[in-house]
């Protein structure tokens, strides 16, 4: 077992550690019952601090923004997903690959365009994403490792203004209950920023929007985590370098 971390638990509970130190503490807590118990106790005290904050009203539009964004997400389990194309047999993988090919080859592939039109027609809800693809995007492919071998994901950073980046995954294996997959964007200084959390929906192809701008990061990765927040703890299951953004002269 690693060295006890009692000396750092207050700062950890308050979020006052560097990412590296927080990861070290989190790693220890995962294997030390006594430190974890103290950390949870401190977390309860820190957890009431928001109640000391002066209350403010967000704009009324925020509620609808939240709900509209959730409405546009891919429903992972029940009902037909808003944009997952897994049920369009036998094309799910072909569609994903062709969609990527359209971008890579400059939208010159007629078959790919036909497939894209088919997907568009099939899925009203996918319109925004398909449009983002049509208008071009930078893409990077992440190949799955070890237990994720055979799966992969392509990060799309649409050129069009206002289009949200997303990752198009294929052949993701099921993950243990209670776990979550996290997409990270990693800066040159090795700062890991959590871009999205999701659970594989069991379909061949799955799209996950990410909440961060890609610019400014030079690597993307996916890990399996215990929690959808906090520092990275899980092993990397797929990753790719991503091209640095163009710098201003």
């Amino acid at each position: 077992m690693t060295e006890h971390v009692l000396d750092d638990l207050e700062a950890y509970a308050l979020g006052a550690l560097t990412r590296t130190d927080a990861e070290r503490v989190a790693s220890h807590l995962a294997v030390c019952d006594s430190c974890r118990g103290e950390a949870m106790s401190l977390g309860e005290i820190v957890g009431v601090l928001p109640e000391s904050v002066p209350l403010r009203e967000p704009s009324p539009a925020l509620r609808e923004r939240v709900l509209a964004a959730a409405r546009g997400e891919v429903p992972p389990w029940r009902s037909r997903p808003a944009w997952s194309v897994g049920h369009i047999r036998p094309w799910p993988i072909i569609t994903a690959v062709l969609a990527a090919a359209v971008i890579v080859l400059g939208a010159a592939n007629v078959d790919a365009n036909r497939q894209l039109r088919a997907v568009t027609a099939e899925r009203d809800a996918s319109g925004t994403t398909i449009e983002a693809i049509r208008e071009g995007a930078r893409t990077w492919y992440m190949a799955g490792k070890e237990s994720f071998s055979g799966s992969g994901g392509t990060l799309y950073d649409p050129h069009a203004d206002g289009k949200q980046p997303f990752v198009l995954f294929h052949d993701l294996p099921a993950i243990p209950p209670g776990k979550v997959l996290t997409i990270w964007l990693v800066s040159a200084g090795s700062a890991w920023a959590r871009a999205a959390n999701f659970v594989p929906d069991g379909r061949d192809v799955q799209v996950v929007p990410i909440s961060l701008e890609v610019a400014g990061f030079d690597r993307c990765a996916v890990t399996m985590e215990d929690a959808p927040w906090g520092p990275r703890y899980g092993a990397v299951v797929m990753e790719s370098r991503i091209a640095p953004p163009a710098t201003a002269p």
Partner: protein, 183 residues
């Protein structure tokens, strides 16, 4: 008889089942507090609203992985808000430890009308915080709301790192005792 409101845990189960209405209820219940926390950390409304949207979407996406043994849904949601807001604060390339005086001015922005609506529990927490010696309260507030690491606080306050850690430890212990006594 008044209709029973669903518990937070019931809402989390509904969220995991992709029920949008549960997300709306969760927002109605905690959206204001989440926004207030994000605003307190970031000091501006646009960024605070982005954080709140991001946090509720994280809850929507991650509800299936929520584990009750790691805290109640309210604390879970607010911890996401806190992490996101502090991450943004620290990622700003221009971020530097603000002058202590400027950081301490933020609580003075309190909306008096909103303040009057606070319930007893809110006031209890504020009182427990206010009851701390100034150095301990300042250390805890700058760490939690200001996004400062303990090393930055050591530099900012001009005291050894061990002193910062000690202030955090004793301050949180006192808060725990105060809250136990008041509740």
């Amino acid at each position: 008889m008044a209709e029973l409101e669903p518990s937070d845990h019931a809402l989390m189960s509904a969220l995991a089942s992709r029920e949008l209405g549960a997300l709306a209820t969760l927002y109605d219940r905690y959206g204001r507090l989440a926004y207030s926390l994000a605003y307190r950390i970031l000091g501006e409304s646009e960024g605070a609203e982005d954080v709140v949207q991001d946090a509720f979407l994280s809850a929507w996406r991650g509800a299936a992985s929520y584990r009750p043994d790691r805290g109640n849904p309210r604390s879970w949601l607010l911890s996401i808000v806190h992490h996101r807001a502090v991450d943004i604060l620290r990622r700003k390339t221009t971020f530097r430890p603000a002058p202590l005086e400027a950081a301490e001015l933020q609580p003075a922005n309190e909306d008096t009308a909103a303040s009057a609506e606070r319930n007893v529990e809110d006031r209890t927490v504020r009182e427990a915080l206010d009851a701390l010696p100034q150095a301990q309260r300042r250390t805890i507030e700058l760490a939690y709301f200001g996004g400062y690491t303990h090393v930055e606080l050591s530099e900012l306050m001009g005291v050894p790192l061990g002193t910062v850690k000690g202030r955090m430890r004793i301050g949180l212990q006192k808060m725990r005792r105060s809250l136990e006594h008041m509740r």
